[in-house]
């Protein structure tokens, strides 16, 4: 197994040079980050969980609704937002995708491989950008795909009682696309938090606090602060984005999308500063 090492002249291996460099940095780093993401099992599991929970939970909720439909009173029936019901699974699946986002960076710190990464690419901003682009693209495909499938399956079930809606109904398409967008945003917030905090547990806890618990705490504030402040938190902004019915306690869908973008941009701004200022 052990051979006598012969490497040859520097710059020349087996008679050909390997020191040729690519013209541009980002495409190389993107390729590398894609290999990193696809080559660990946690990626597959987290993505399967995201898809499974989004579709599975939405299906279950719609089945449950249909099963009880005949015993519901008129008011309950009128309150139904069929789109939202089929997309409810997102509240849980966003956690799975958010955890994957955290791991994309925090696993590198946990294993120590971040040092190999920065030795290979000392341009840390480029590394973060490549991670965000690769993970963001994967998250976007999975998010939109699972949101649309969850919607389709859910509406097929609800249509048994003739309460299903279709994508061509007003604002429904926006709500389903908004759901996919929100899911991607949570994943990216996870990546930014993983970069800022570097520890998996701390970053996941912070993400859960921001997405799930902040709303609960803010709702304890006296009126009108509870909604005035609460509507700017990612969870409520997401809800505004994928609800079909307008609700005065929530932002308009356009404003909600903007607020989510601001959250992501702000989180990555902090992450970039943290990444470039600190020792690896």
């Amino acid at each position: 197994m052990i051979t006598t090492p012969t490497v040859g002249e520097p710059g020349v291996v087996d008679g050909r040079t390997v020191t040729s460099r690519p013209a541009r940095l980002l495409p190389s780093v993107l390729k590398s980050e894609w290999t990193k993401l696809r080559s660990v099992r946690s990626t597959v599991w987290a993505l399967l969980a995201t898809i499974g929970i989004t579709i599975g939970l939405g299906t279950l909720l719609c089945l449950a609704y249909v099963a009880r439909y005949d015993r519901l009173d008129l008011q309950r029936r009128r309150n139904l937002d069929p789109t939202l019901l089929s997309l409810r699974g997102l509240f849980l699946s966003s956690l799975a995708l958010g955890v994957l986002g955290v791991l994309v960076m925090s696993a590198e710190y946990a294993t120590g491989s971040i040092r190999s990464t920065f030795t290979a690419v000392p341009q840390r901003r480029t590394v973060l950008a490549a991670k965000a682009l690769v993970f963001g693209a994967v998250a976007l495909v999975v998010s939109f795909g699972s949101a649309f499938v969850a919607f389709g399956v859910g509406q097929a079930i609800l249509s048994r009682k003739h309460v299903g809606v279709s994508l061509s109904d007003p604002t429904v398409l926006r709500a389903v696309a908004g759901a996919g967008f929100y899911l991607t945003v949570v994943g990216l917030l996870g990546l930014a938090l993983g970069t800022i905090l570097r520890r998996t547990a701390g970053a996941i806890a912070t993400l859960v606090g921001l997405i799930f618990i902040a709303d609960v705490l803010v709702s304890a504030l006296p009126d009108p602060w509870d909604t005035d402040i609460g509507k700017f938190f990612p969870g409520n902004a997401g809800l505004a984005l994928f609800s079909v019915r307008a609700n005065t306690d929530r932002l308009t869908p356009g404003a909600a999308a903007l607020v989510l973008v601001v959250w992501v941009v702000a989180a990555f701004a902090v992450a970039t500063v943290a990444l470039t200022r600190r020792d690896a």
Binding site: P5, V7, P10, G11, V13, S39, V40, R115, P122, A280
Partner: protein, 309 residues
């Protein structure tokens, strides 16, 4: 070529590296030697731009490491063989690094072949032995076929066969004109691998010299046996040598063995034994690092006169 100038790193109140100035030349294996906690790994991280120096600077091939866009083609490093994601296959681990610097699968397969890991290329790294992980780390360092190579404690965890292999390997890399910088806390290992030594203790440079020079700095003595030992003792002492009686022998230092033989002949004193005793590298090392401890306690400065410019 690696050049450090007044390199200093503080972690809070701890001074890990204190005004290191040195250069690591191509074409030879330079051993970076010091006890645990001397600042070797910190220096390596500073060279690679992973940590920012508190003061001073360090360059690789005349520029800061972080100024390099595809550094694996210039510099290969193995810092910690265990710092890998255990769930990744060996080939994927290397591919991530290769792709970031514009290389592909073919180069990955070449370096796996080179370190003898081709058979396990498609296994996950987690269950690898430490020795196999060291080989994987060496493969990663060789990816870009760099002219400068840094290895932090590469021998740890290798079996005897692996140690011989790595020694031969480092020498071969240096013979090809590469700069090979290898840290270790094991003097004996360095004695057999390195051509040149940088010795540090408490973050300071204690010696920058060839192995022979470091050895010469360690106290050497000559073992002498003679039927007229008392006479010889007086004679040698009068010439400024330090003489100790050990059992039936004399241990003489501060005077060369040849001079002792000549003096004895001049005075008609028969010698039954005349054996020069070379201090081991370990002894030389301890003398150097003890000096560092002394310096730390505030007494005489260590041999900083040898710090290069």
């Amino acid at each position: 070529m690696i050049e450090a100038d007044g390199l200093t790193k503080h972690y809070g109140p701890t001074i890990a590296v204190n005004g290191l100035s040195f250069s690591v030349a191509p074409g030879r294996v330079t051993g970076f030697l010091g006890p645990n906690g001397a600042g070797k790994s910190t220096t390596m991280r500073l060279i690679l731009g992973l940590d920012a120096p508190t003061a001073g600077s360090v360059t690789v091939n005349g520029k800061p490491y972080t100024a390099d866009r595809f550094p694996l083609h210039d510099v290969g490093a193995l810092l910690d063989a265990l710092a890998v994601h255990g769930g990744r296959k060996a080939v994927d681990h290397l591919l991530c690094l290769a792709q970031s610097n514009g290389m592909g699968r073919r180069r990955v397969n070449e370096v796996l072949e080179l370190v003898g890991l081709s058979d396990v290329a498609h296994r996950r790294i987690g269950p690898f032995s430490l020795g196999m992980k060291q080989r994987l780390g060496i493969a990663a360092a060789l990816l870009g076929d760099p002219a400068v190579l840094l290895f932090d404690e590469p021998v740890t965890g290798l079996d005897p066969e692996g140690i011989v292999w790595i020694r031969t390997f480092f020498r071969a890399l240096a013979d090809e004109g590469r700069t090979v910088f290898v840290s270790s806390h094991l003097m004996s290992e360095m004695a057999q691998t390195a051509h040149h030594l940088l010795v540090i203790g408490h973050g300071r440079l204690l010696a920058d010299a060839s192995i022979e020079d470091v050895l010469a700095r360690g106290s050497s003595s000559v073992k002498v046996r003679s039927p007229r030992a008392e006479e010889l003792d007086r004679l040698l002492s009068s010439r400024g040598a330090t003489v100790r009686a050990v059992d039936n022998r004399l241990e003489v230092s501060g005077i060369a063995a040849a001079t002792i033989g000549d003096l004895a002949a001049e005075h008609g004193i028969a010698l039954h034994e005349l054996t020069p005793q070379q201090a081991t590298l370990e002894e030389a090392f301890f003398e150097l690092t003890e000096a560092a401890v002394d310096y730390h306690a505030g007494s005489t400065p260590a041999s900083s006169g040898d710090a290069p410019r």
